[in-house]
Subunit: 269 residues, 2 copies
């Protein structure tokens, strides 16, 4: 079947994670699957790329419609490896990143390797979906995430969409029948404040470990992903990569040329 | 001087880099300086955080108004360590991240450890400035970056600004008198396409190394940071952390509930 779709799967928890297997199950409903996932867990790796080290690729699984590769880089490295080398001559129809063990709502999107890979995928001219389950447990139940992931992707393939398209999908803990449906959202505003866990290592050197608490900056806003998750909805946030603060861009017009106009021809004033 | 300003300096090239010394020179014009910078180079680390390893902090330099710490984590870890532990009881007036060896214009902001740290700094209620010089060379001349960095920060302290404020400042190569001034910009749209350099290691295993080329998606747009840099302006892009694609949010209203309205109460429709 030359016309069969090709789905790229990646994640940040590594090629052997339970969440990757769940994402592959979702993907294989829609076509052939090639997974390129990190050799080791890469949670919190954001959109990092590997600049100083050589990277190794190995195929760890092959059957007729599913291949899995382990790559020794970051999640974004995996996406680049797939598009720019491994699958260079083939058309990729969709990127799925996940299913992540832990949610990536709100500001967590910025730290998330899952979403770093999903955003990278959207740079290659196909839709890209990051899927995360709000459960870090080893015995996490991926059934609802699988069902909703499949439903969302079926809609993408059935409907007309404009590219680039990247979705940050987060699924609450619960059985499928306990969830209240899909909710299109914006990213919640909030941030983390850290408590550094301090201890001494066996050689008497003090070490630190990040242990933070998320501060929801707008707990009552019902149009955010964080609200949706807390209220048992599957949150879907469309995501883009232009970080320009257009509000500040307006406010700062002329600001840096004030008092030194002759030296600083800030030409947009 | 109890009222003296306190400036936090960090970077992604590590505590011993020439660019950190240049950023400290900028910062000390405005107050006391505490630098918390990575123990090892962390270019391309984006907004990554360290989740799986203990982190070590050591003071590597102390004089009356300048202290430098090396921290074994990422650039974002350094910012968190400073705000949430080391300087927890003190008011920080400004974060400077840099001066980076290499520009962080356009989509490079997403991969940049320098800008990851700057964005993180802006979450703590003070202005934050990422400073980068468009020169990777070991003999890079930081003079223009230092002069313009000082000028931009002087304006921030002299003027009235609204928080959060995070600036992505990129300085072209050149002597100060060759530059054409400061230009307020938006982030250029573009992306990287990679050529994977392939070789065999001494044990005969094939390895890959990322070597990409930047594709400018809008080379003629004169309001972008990439254009400014190419035309010898110092680019200043105000940056924010909400990745929501509001255009897609509008277009996708109702999209995921179509055909399954009873199951998916997408309540914003």
């Amino acid at each position: 079947m030359e016309n069969e779709r090709l789905i790229l799967v990646t994640n940040d928890d590594g090629y052997a994670s339970k969440g990757l297997a769940a994402a592959i199950e979702v993907a294989r409903s829609f076509g052939r699957v090639v997974a390129v996932a990190p050799e080791t867990p890469q949670s919190g790796m954001s959109q990092a790329i590997t600049m100083y080290n050589p990277l190794y690729l190995r195929r760890v699984h092959a059957e007729e419609r599913v291949e899995i590769y382990a790559f020794s880089g970051t999640p974004v490295d995996c996406v680049k490896m797939a598009f720019d080398h491994l699958l260079r001559d083939r058309r990729i129809d969709l990127v799925i990143s996940g299913i992540n063990h832990g949610s990536n709502s709100a500001v967590n999107i910025l730290y998330s390797g899952t979403m770093g890979a999903a955003i990278e995928g959207s740079f290659y001219g196909c839709p890209s979906v990051g899927l995360s389950l709000d459960d870090h447990g080893a015995d996490a139940d991926f059934e609802a995430a699988t069902i909703y992931g499949r439903r969302i992707i079926a809609r993408l393939f059935a409907g007309e969409i404009e590219l680039p398209l990247c979705l940050n999908v987060n699924v609450p803990v619960g059985r499928p029948e306990e969830l209240r449906g899909i909710r299109l959202c914006r990213q919640n505003r909030g941030f983390w404040r850290e408590e550094f866990y301090r201890h001494e290592d066996p050689r008497g050197r003090e070490y630190f470990w990040l242990t933070g608490a998320f501060i929801n900056g707008e707990p009552d806003a019902e149009d955010t992903d964080e609200w949706a998750l807390r209220n048992k909805y599957v949150s879907v946030v469309p995501v883009q990569a232009d970080l320009t603060d257009y509000g500040q861009l307006q406010r700062l017009r002329g600001f840096f040329s004030a008092g030194s106009a002759s030296e600083d021809p800030e030409s947009q004033n």
